[in-house]
């Protein structure tokens, strides 16, 4: 199937990070700068702090808040998105509210969340969910609206019950867009996790960074920043793995698998739009939106 990435390509990825670390290490060793401690010091502080003393104290609470808030956003966003995508009336009704809430930066609601949920985990989960739900919701709506009307016609002509249509046709058809929204939301979620923990919090990565800075523990502060960077990196990597697995059909259908067997599908999906095609769908269906651009969710394969 795919050609295995060459070893040299793999090693190439380490050249720039390694070079940057080396450069910083060499510079910081002689710089004697309070704000930019030597790399060796950051390294030893990192080992002391994060292997594994503060993992249960700060890292796990942060991750669990992120997971809880993000999961909530995925469930709410997908369910509401499907409902709004399917019903024009519901969409029109909710649009002003959705647009208003979406324009509101989630951090603006931190004081309110603290009032409502207190300083514990719940207020953070609320802020994360509130900020990450919009990309998922809006992308799901678009994904559902971009559904091929012929797939629904097919389902109707075979008398497939609506529950199965939802599960086996609408949801998979919208999934490329849903994943595009989820990817945007993941980075927003990490941002909100950190911000929410910097305000009235007793633990978490954001709290740790702020506390370290306030205590002039600059190496500790830097290790916290490094941990957040690593966390984002790992979560994104995991996300891409899941996405590649779930949406493998989508990349195949778009001819992006680099598989010679997928090639004919590209050529044959380009034709097949006869002039009779739009005839007889009725005025409602004829104004259906264009197939949304799924380019955002498809990346070239290395």
């Amino acid at each position: 199937m795919r050609t295995a990435p060459r070893v040299s390509d793999f090693l190439l990825q380490f050249v720039l990070p390694g070079g940057l670390l080396l450069g910083y290490g060499v510079w910081s060793a002689q710089a004697d700068n309070f704000y930019f401690p030597p790399l060796t010091e950051i390294g030893s502080t990192f080992a002391d702090t994060w292997l594994f003393e503060r993992v249960p104290v700060d890292l796990l609470p942060s991750v669990s808040r992120l997971v809880a808030g993000y999961s909530l956003a995925v469930v709410v966003g997908v369910v509401a998105g499907i409902a709004l995508g399917l019903s024009r009336r519901a969409r029109l009704t909710s649009e002003p509210v959705v647009e208003f809430l979406r324009a509101l930066p989630a951090p603006a609601l931190i004081p309110f969340a603290l009032l409502l949920f207190g300083t514990g985990t719940n207020s953070k989960v609320f802020i994360i969910a509130l900020g990450t739900v919009w990309p998922i919701l809006l992308n799901t709506i678009d994904g559902v609206r971009g559904l091929e009307s012929q797939q629904l016609d097919m389902a109707r002509s075979y008398r497939i019950p609506s529950r199965s249509v939802l599960l086996h046709i609408i949801l998979p058809a919208a999934s490329p867009r849903i994943f595009a929204g989820m990817r945007t939301s993941l980075s927003i979620g990490i941002i909100l996790m950190v911000i929410s923990e910097m305000v009235a919090s007793a633990n978490g990565l954001g709290y740790f960074i702020l506390q370290s800075q306030r205590g002039f523990e600059i190496p500790e502060m830097w290790t916290g920043i490094v941990v957040i960077g690593l966390l984002g990196f790992v979560l994104n990597w995991l996300f891409l793995r899941v996405e590649a697995r779930v949406l493998f059909w989508h990349r195949g259908a778009k001819g992006l698998l680099g598989d010679s067997a997928a090639a004919p599908a590209v050529e044959s999906s380009a034709d097949g739009h006869g002039p009779d095609d739009a005839e007889g769908r009725g005025p409602e269906a004829a104004t259906a939106p264009d197939v949304p651009s799924t380019a955002r969710s498809s990346r070239p394969v290395s």
Binding site: Q151, D153, Y158, G274, E279, G280
Partner: protein, 250 residues
């Protein structure tokens, strides 16, 4: 088997709307192969949507095996023109074919047999685990046909099913369809704008003029089994061809 009487379909209001089907009446007998011939925009697709129960008729009646159509009938399967958009790319070929069967009340075992049978009939018995997008256009349309066959319909409606494949694949698919028609003993209503295709396949050809009204009926008495070369070389074939051509033009 299939009776259409005074079918009328208007989009919008009766006065100002768009009349897609004017006044359409015809009867298709059991196991008959009828081709409906018409140029683009003559209302063929709307007519099929009414026959398949996907769109309600404005007036008139459609009977499938004596019972009126007021929604998609159980004994009828519809093969869409655009296979690339009616197959589900996230399901394998096998799953695409078997997907509707469970809802027809078939047991798992029955569905499995019907699926394997239908895929064999279209010559795709060895590609069951492939995904539609891994197949050529002609093969994808064969999957769509297999899906219709596995559903075990009495009537098969086909909307220009071979319009978007190349000429060689097209004649192969025509022969494949004739074989299937014999084997599954179904009634076929086949819409096309290709005169040769209509004459080659059909027992009877109806010529449709906008707004979807039958202007000419031609019985095709060419011997079966038909052959792409010898049948098309018959004088009768040429005669029918020019008769239908002039019917389409006038």
């Amino acid at each position: 088997m299939l009776e259409v009487s005074h079918l009328r379909k208007v989009y919008g209001s009766e006065e100002t709307g768009n009349v897609a089907v004017g006044d359409l009446s015809f009867v298709v007998g059991e196991k008959e192969f009828v081709c409906i011939l018409g140029s683009s925009g003559c209302g063929k697709t709307t007519m099929l949507r009414c026959l398949s129960g996907l769109a309600p008729a404005t007036s008139g009646q459609i009977l499938v095996e004596g019972s009126p159509v007021d929604g998609p009938p159980e004994d009828l399967a519809y093969v869409f023109q655009d296979y690339s958009r009616s197959l589900l790319p996230w399901m394998t070929v096998e799953r695409n074919v078997s997907f509707p069967l469970r809802y027809k009340g078939m047991s798992k075992q029955e569905a499995k047999i019907a699926t394997a049978d239908a895929l064999d009939a279209v010559g795709l018995g060895d590609r069951t685990k492939a995904f539609p997008w891994q197949l050529s256009g002609g093969m994808q349309q064969r999957v769509a046909i297999a899906r219709a066959l596995a559903y075990r319909p009495r009537v098969l409606l086909m909307d220009e099913p071979f319009a978007s494949v190349d000429a060689q694949t097209r004649s192969d698919l025509e022969d494949l369809l004739l074989g299937i028609w014999e084997r599954y003993a179904v009634t076929i209503v086949f819409v096309t704008h290709d005169i040769d295709e209509a004459v080659y396949l059909a027992d009877r050809v109806l010529v449709l003029k906008a707004p979807a009204t039958v202007t000419t009926v031609a019985d095709v008495d060419l011997p079966r089994p038909r052959d792409q070369i010898t049948t098309k070389a018959l004088p009768e074939f040429a005669r029918l061809r020019s008769e239908l051509l002039s019917a389409l033009r006038h």
